[in-house]
Symmetry: C2
């Protein structure tokens, strides 16, 4: 019996007869030959149907196939040095599996709202395919990295009875007789995990009811939040840069095909595997912006143009360290010799992608943390359990959060977060 293979494995079957289940993405026919563009979910390649070498029925079927028809293809694999993929199949037989209607996503240009309305089909397109392969690799490499480094995965709850950083931008749920909210961050729970398991990472969906419609916002996205006991901020920065370099290296090693589909410059990516990443202070960043005539003063948070300018001054991702207290959350640990900044850092991605990581050392002192909670106007009752972590054997600990989709857009070199997740959720989009 003819061996069934995936397109991605064509290289191992040159000059062999094989069978592939797949779909038609495009075709070109003359009187004597048809070129079928095929995909099977593992890769894309070309099938060649030569009239003189197949039955009349098969040649006619090849000519009549509509876009996205599914079929079993039988044929012999050949090298194809003209194509990016490098292999093609010389078709001997086609068995139609599923016909296709008039497929809505044609090779012509479509508007993005139309494409998002058809996201369940748009996933089949080459560009989306490549992004999702890279997303998968980043996910895979994340698990591999943290497992190698002795972390355990800890899943914080998605449904919470209170809000970690105040009550804005929260999705509310009627939870039987109670109120509940969708998590915005698993960090506080990860801290409980670090006290139990030493080093933990979370990796799950988080939610922000943001009304922003920018290309940098989703209401539902995935975060990776490592948290490490007995570790200070400097040690945390070392974990962060090692992790990011690991992601980039693994995408280079395993997704060359996909990076090429996206026209992503691999030499550019290789720069991001060089460690250490530069570190500058928030103070220095303000100076740099002011020297370049940006209208900012010490104490301001950075906007997207500020972050773009700053990251453009470096060839690698850059850590901006020690932000003013007023623009960062209450649980951060103050600088030991300065009253006005925290022991924290954001990592800005190059090429204008902005912040991809935010992290800090955490306040360990019970009284100071309690005072901050009160000062922020938060309800102490909601934080009793969190304060317990300082009541019973508090230890120095640090952590950070990476936004998965932000990392994907940067590594893929694409513009919009909405392309980095299979089914994006935004203020005006909850379908399909």
């Amino acid at each position: 019996m003819v061996k069934q293979i995936s397109i991605i494995d064509a290289k191992d079957h040159v000059d062999e007869e094989v069978r592939i289940g797949g779909w038609l993405t495009d075709k070109r026919s003359s009187g004597k030959i048809s070129f079928l563009q095929l995909r099977d979910g593992s890769a894309f390649f070309q099938g060649v149907v030569v009239k003189s070498q197949v039955s009349e029925e098969v040649f006619q079927l090849a000519k009549d196939l509509k876009q996205e028809s599914s079929m079993w293809i039988t044929g012999v694999i050949h090298e194809d040095t003209r194509s990016h993929f490098g292999y093609e199949i010389e078709v001997s037989n086609i068995e139609l599996v599923g016909e296709s209607g008039d497929y809505p996503i044609t090779p012509k240009e479509h508007g993005v709202e139309f494409l998002l309305d058809h996201r369940h089909l748009w996933l089949r397109s080459k560009r989306t395919f490549a992004i999702m392969q890279i997303r998968n690799e980043i996910i895979r490499a994340t698990y591999e990295f943290y497992n190698q480094e002795g972390f355990i995965k800890m899943d914080p709850p998605i449904l919470t009875g209170s809000a970690p950083e105040g009550t804005t931008e929260l999705f509310h749920i009627e939870y039987f007789e109670n109120d509940a909210y969708l998590t915005q961050s698993g960090q506080l729970y990860a801290e409980a995990g670090a006290m139990a398991f030493g080093k933990v990472f979370t990796f799950g969906p988080v939610f922000r009811a943001e009304k922003s419609k920018t290309r940098r916002h989703l209401t539902e996205f995935w975060m990776i939040e490592p948290e490490m006991a007995f570790m200070n901020q400097d040690q945390s920065l070392e974990v962060q840069e090692k992790y990011i370099a690991y992601l980039v290296q693994n995408v280079i090693d395993h997704c060359e095909y996909d990076l090429n589909l996206l026209d992503r410059d691999i030499d550019q990516l290789k720069k991001y595997t060089q460690l250490p990443y530069p570190r500058i202070s928030y103070d220095k960043a303000i100076e740099m912006l002011q020297a370049a005539d940006f209208d900012v003063k010490w104490g301001d948070d950075f906007g997207a143009p500020d972050e773009t300018y700053l990251s453009d001054q470096f060839e690698q991702p850059v850590f901006i360290m020690n932000y003013p207290k007023a623009i960062k959350p209450f649980y951060m640990k103050p600088h030991p010799t300065r009253d006005d900044v925290y022991l924290c850092a954001d990592l800005l991605a190059p090429e204008g992608y902005g912040e991809i990581i935010g992290g800090s050392e955490r306040e360990t002192d019970y009284d100071k943390l309690e005072a901050e909670i009160v000062k922020m106007g938060l309800d102490l009752k909601d934080y009793e359990w969190y304060l317990d972590l300082r009541r019973y054997g508090s230890v120095p600990h640090s952590g950070f959060g990476l936004g998965l989709e932000r990392a994907i857009t940067w590594i893929c070199g694409i513009d919009h977060l909405r392309e980095a997740i299979p089914f994006p959720r935004m203020i005006n989009r909850i379908q399909p």
Copy 2:
């Protein structure tokens, strides 16, 4: 400088002086010697403080330490053949890091509601530690398995604009001007993924607003849902049993310490790595139950006692195949020669743990699927995108869902789903 290590790595540092950051779980002191039970998140072991070999201050500190105090311990690692762990530390110095108040979870017995109220601390206990290590290993091995098998991870949306299987047991959200619901299953989206990527798996939280208070129900739990294009139900069963055996084997290989902490019989688990698993029909299962005087008739769904009895008849997990249409969802593919059952199977875990997997081949025919949706009283408009998967190149495909926490309780040999997740959510519990 003395090397900083984790307890789990003690075996590599016998007779070396090392430094460990950790917490006290218990202690025993006499006039001349103190035995400190220590944990650092990687494992548990004993520290021995001999009065004649440390300073007076250190010996006094060791005597005064309260449960869950945190500290840096310096000392020399020795083999300790009397303990399960096999190593201990002969303490030369202790630096207190964080004091502890009166820790609420003492070595005495506590009620489960009290423990759940203190889940953020209960995570530190030996039993919870072991369960969470095994949970982590099952997660790790799941990613490894599906990546090896050529699947990509595809994240379905958590927020959905409509409900996959009717509108019962759904959590509702106000989504700006619209209604949204928390996902109960990512399957329909995984089917769109399989048509784009061939083989996909989801792994994320799902939600059921179930009012049940049984030990087998959580309102928030994690599901793994693989979906495979060009694959029939028999092929899917082979993936399922290979996956389950892989999980069990990896837990045996990597979590012996944790299985021992839980008194789990490893020889029992080894039986579950033998393939294939037995397969019986639903018809046969009904016969077996009737022969054992259970009050069931053909067409009934199985309750927990039925599943327990059936699984007790086998040494391994058992597939129950081809259930009546009336008790399974609309998207399943009917049996080719029988009008009354689907091409589906549930996998029952041994030792009375009941269903851990449900799966089926999926209906591929547009007209039949549309008719089922109408017959179920569902709104066709909500399923237009799903029907598109049959409109444009439909192919045979199959998939299944594993409940993570159900698999954990079975592999760990524990009674309650609430112990299998870090922060369980149930009808009466949304805190901490």
